[in-house]
Symmetry: D2
Subunit: 136 residues, 4 copies
Amino acid sequence: MDIPDLETAREVLAAQPFSVLLDARLTAFGAGEAVLELDIRDELRQQNGFLHGGVLGYAADNALTFAAGTAAGAKIITSGFTIDYLRPADGRTLRAHARVLRAGRTRVVCRCDLSTLDARGASTLCAVAQGSVTVL
Amino acid sequence: MDIPDLETAREVLAAQPFSVLLDARLTAFGAGEAVLELDIRDELRQQNGFLHGGVLGYAADNALTFAAGTAAGAKIITSGFTIDYLRPADGRTLRAHARVLRAGRTRVVCRCDLSTLDARGASTLCAVAQGSVTVL
Amino acid sequence: MDIPDLETAREVLAAQPFSVLLDARLTAFGAGEAVLELDIRDELRQQNGFLHGGVLGYAADNALTFAAGTAAGAKIITSGFTIDYLRPADGRTLRAHARVLRAGRTRVVCRCDLSTLDARGASTLCAVAQGSVTVL
Amino acid sequence: MDIPDLETAREVLAAQPFSVLLDARLTAFGAGEAVLELDIRDELRQQNGFLHGGVLGYAADNALTFAAGTAAGAKIITSGFTIDYLRPADGRTLRAHARVLRAGRTRVVCRCDLSTLDARGASTLCAVAQGSVTVL
C-alpha cells in the first residue's frame, strides 16, 4: 500500500472538479488526519445567509475520505457518513478536520469536526460527522 | 403553520446561492414529498469522473429539508442526515426524492432515494439517506 | 456463496445468547428481506413505560444483518447503522422489517422499518434505520 | 431546568427495566459527560462469542441520553444515533463514554466512545457513536 504525501493528496484534490468549483484546499494530510478548508463566499450560502448545509456535507465527506487515505492509500471509496449540524455556520473560513479512529484491512472509520473561523481566526464548532471508507 | 406550494418552494431554492451554483431545480413539492434534480455536468465530478459524493450529500440534505417543509412549513432547520453511497454515480441527471416518514410537532424524519437518470431516462439508485429536521 | 434458508437463519438467531435473552424470533428470511419480532414484555421497557430505545436498536441491527445475509450469506459482519426514533414505542409486539437496497461484492446496504403491533394487530411505525454490512 | 446529580441519574437508570436486565451502571455523570458500564456476560453475546452489536447499540443510546441529561435535565427524548463498529468486542467490561458537543435550546448533540476493558483494565475502542436528543 502506497500512502500519498501532502503534495500528492493536493493533486488528487485538484483533480476533483467539484472541489475546484468550491475552491477547497488541503492544509494538512498525514498520520491519520486531514484538514480541508475553503473560504466562505456568497455563492456557498443558503437563503438565510448562512453557509449551505450541503457545503458542510461536502467538506465532511471529502475530509473523511482524505483522512482515511492517510492510513489506507488512494484505493478507497467512501461508504457513507452522518452529519449533525450544531449551529448556523458563518465566518471567513470553513475548516473540516478529520481523524482516523480505526483503520482495518477493509474499512476505515473516521470522525470529522467542522468549524468556522472568523476574521481574527477564532473558531466555532458548527457540525460534526462520522463516516467510513471501504478499502478496495 | 403555513405550508408553501411548489412555486413558493422554488423561490426558496432560488434564494439559495449554493443551489443556484449547482443549478438545482425542484420538480415536485407537496404531500410529504419533494424531488430535487440537477444536471450532471463536469464541474460536479470527482477525480475518477463520477459525480462527487458532496453533490449527492447536498442533494440529500436539501431534498430532505424540502420534504419536511411540505409537512412543517418554512420555519425549520435541518438537524442532520446519514447517507450511504451504493454505486459510483454517473449519467445525465441526479434526482433526489425525499419522503416524510413522521412529522411530529418538533421534529420531522425523512428518507431520500438518490438516483441517476441516463439519456433515455433509465434510473439507477446510487445513494440512500435518512435525516431529520427541527421545527422552530 | 451459500445463502441460508429460514431454518438455518433461525439456528443462527438461536445461537445468539442476547437474542435468546430478548426472545427474538425470525418470521421471514429470504429474497433480500428479513423480519425479526419480539414480544414487548416489561423487562424491555425504560423508565416511562415505553420500549427502551436499546431494544429498538438491537432489533434494527439484527434485522439489517439478517436481511444482508439473504443476499450475501453468513460470512458478513455488521459495519454500523443509524436509527431515528419516531414515536414512543408500546404495544404487544415489536416487528423489525429490513430490506436490502444494494448488495455489492463487499458491502450490503439495508433499510429497516420498526413497528409495534397492538393486540388487534394494528401496526404503528416507531423507528427507522439504515445500515450496512461488510461481506468478508 | 433542573440538572440531576449522579445519585438521581442512577435512580433513573434503576427505573429502566431493560438497563436492570443488562445490569448497566452509571460510573460518571456530570459536566457534559456520562459513563455507562456493564459486565460482559455470556447472555449478552452473539453466535461467534463476541458481545452482540445490540448491546453496544443499547450502551451508546443510553450513554448519549444521560450525557445530554447533564446539560439539559431530565425532560429529554432521544432522537436517534449512528453507530460504527470498529472491532469484535470482548473482554470483562463494556464502557460507553458520552460527551456533549453542543447543548442547544431544543437539541443536544453528543458523541460516544465504546471500549472494552480486559481483566487488567486495558481498554480497546470497539465502536463509536454520534447522536442527538430533543429537549422537551
